[in-house]
């Protein structure tokens, strides 16, 4: 049996009576870059948020490097792991959000340093040095002491990516990271993600940038009504979609327009 970096089995998630994920199965190997596409409400973001336990899920399992995330079964009863353990498991993944979510009272460097000092227990100097390295990597070394309010949206998103990656996660989750950006700022963020992908970082991206998904991913998952509607390599998916639903979706997406 191959060792998967990420393994999702029969994932079910409901908000009250509304079932958002209806049995998702997915595996991912080290170094994979997978884009998740689909229309709004198809469950893309929810799936991503379940992986780092920002959302609880009612059924199925998620494992990273074979370690089950969030829940354990004791005496036949499924129960949520202790918060401290969940916090440790969350650090296995890094996440960049649509709205950046930088801590506004901290400089760019402090944003990156916080997790290194509080979670990794590094000294301030060590954390600063790692923060500078990653801010440099996203082209923002010179903005290390700027506050989020002094940065453009694209720069804020790059700091947010540096903050997540500095924690050295096994897997990076990107949740529509360009959706809140002005069109002219989108490219700078996509370039950073692309260069990280080229370095072999494992990534799961929820995106509406179809051209980007096509170029950067080695696999694409099309979510449809809480299930994986279709998956495969980008060339097949975008040029020869098997399902009518994906075909329709691509026609209305930015990929279809080009």
């Amino acid at each position: 049996m191959p060792n998967h970096l990420l393994e999702i089995r029969d994932l079910h998630k409901s908000y009250g009576d509304v079932e958002v994920l209806k049995g998702v199965d997915c595996t991912m190997a080290q170094g994979d870059v997978i884009s998740i596409i689909g229309s709004s409400g198809s469950g893309k973001t929810t799936m991503l948020r379940c992986i780092n336990m920002l959302e609880e899920f009612q059924g199925g399992s998620i494992s990273i490097d074979g370690e089950e995330i969030g829940y354990e079964t004791v005496g036949g009863q499924r129960r949520r792991k202790k918060e401290k353990e969940i916090a440790r498991q969350r650090a296995l993944t890094g996440m960049a959000f649509q709205q950046f979510n930088l801590f506004p009272h901290m400089s760019a460097a402090r944003n990156v340093m916080l997790g290194l000092m509080k979670v990794k227990k590094l000294s301030k100097d060590e954390a600063r040095s790692i923060a500078e390295k990653w801010l440099d990597r996203v082209g923002l070394r010179s903005r290390a002491d700027h506050f989020p309010g002094q940065l453009s949206g694209g720069q804020q998103q790059r700091v947010a990516i540096a903050r997540a990656i500095a924690m050295n996660p096994r897997l990076m989750l990107f949740d529509e990271v360009t959706s809140a950006l002005d069109p002219e700022l989108v490219n700078e963020v996509l370039q950073v993600i692309k260069s990280l992908a080229q370095d072999g970082m494992s990534m799961l991206l929820v995106t509406h940038e179809m051209r980007f998904a096509y170029e950067v991913s080695n696999r694409v998952i099309f979510m449809n009504q809480g299930r994986i509607g279709e998956e495969g390599n980008p060339r097949e998916m975008f040029h020869k979609p098997k399902s009518e639903r994906l075909s329709e979706f691509l026609k209305t997406s930015s990929f279809g327009e080009r």
Binding site: N52, M53, L54, E83, K84, A87, R88, R90, A91, T93, G94, M95, F97, Q99, N101, L102, F103, P104, H105, L114, G115, K118, V119, H146, F147, G149, Q150, A160, R163, A164, M167
Partner: protein, 220 residues
């Protein structure tokens, strides 16, 4: 009218007024410090999803905010000893003002907590911080910045409330002024000077709070 202002007698007792003012500040400082801790804890309880935390916090805030502070001061000092809970005058007043300020500050802090975007908590969780670390490193500092303007007026208001300690003979500013008034019969002069001391102190407190606001403001 024919009344001639003469401050000489009041000036001779000015030291007493300053001592009273110092005690007023100490009462306010002690009560606000304890009250801020109570208020912060209560605010987190008030926004908690857990009813066992939220309901008692709500009851505490409702009772305290709907009871005049003078009644609370008299109750703590005169009624509680009947129940075996005896405190000195100063301790009793600090205890009361701390409870009172805790309820008011809880509402101030609660509003501040609700103004913090939920995404910041999620960002903290995503990098592996625990709930406690998120509260101490992200939520509380941001909340504190958000509430500084209303915190400033609450602190000034609480400082002025220390004058009620005179009701249980705590020798703070109002009590000393009343004593000088009785001893010198210079009613107008005594209360003018006492009022000026309150106004000047409140103005200084307001200026200090504004300076703190500027210092902690997030650069944009």
């Amino acid at each position: 009218m024919g009344y001639t202002l003469n401050f000489a007698a009041v000036w001779r007792s000015f030291d007493l007024l300053l001592e009273g003012l110092a005690l007023s500040l100490a009462l306010a400082f002690g009560a606000i410090l304890i009250g801020a801790a109570i208020g912060l804890f209560t605010a987190f309880c008030l926004i908690s999803k857990n009813g066992f935390a939220r309901r008692p916090a709500g009851i505490y805030v409702t009772i305290i905010r709907n009871t005049p502070i003078l009644v609370l001061v008299l109750f703590t000092y005169f009624a509680l000893p009947q129940l075996g809970f005896r405190l000195g005058k100063i301790e009793s007043f600090i205890f009361t003002l701390a409870l009172y300020s805790g309820a008011y500050l809880a509402e101030v802090f609660r509003a501040g907590l609700l103004s913090i975007p939920v995404g910041l908590r999620e960002a903290g969780l995503a990098i592996g911080l625990t709930e406690i670390q998120i509260r101490t490193s992200i939520i509380a500092p941001l909340m504190f910045r958000n509430v500084l303007p209303s915190l400033s007026s609450t602190i000034i208001s609480l400082f002025k409330d220390t004058s009620l300690a005179a009701a249980i003979a705590v020798p703070e500013l109002t009590f000393e002024a009343r004593k000088i008034n009785v001893e010198t019969f210079r009613v107008i002069e005594t209360w003018i000077v006492a009022s000026c001391l309150y106004v000047i102190t409140c103005s200084i407190l307001a200026a200090l709070m504004r300076a703190l606001e500027r210092r902690l403001s997030v650069p944009r």
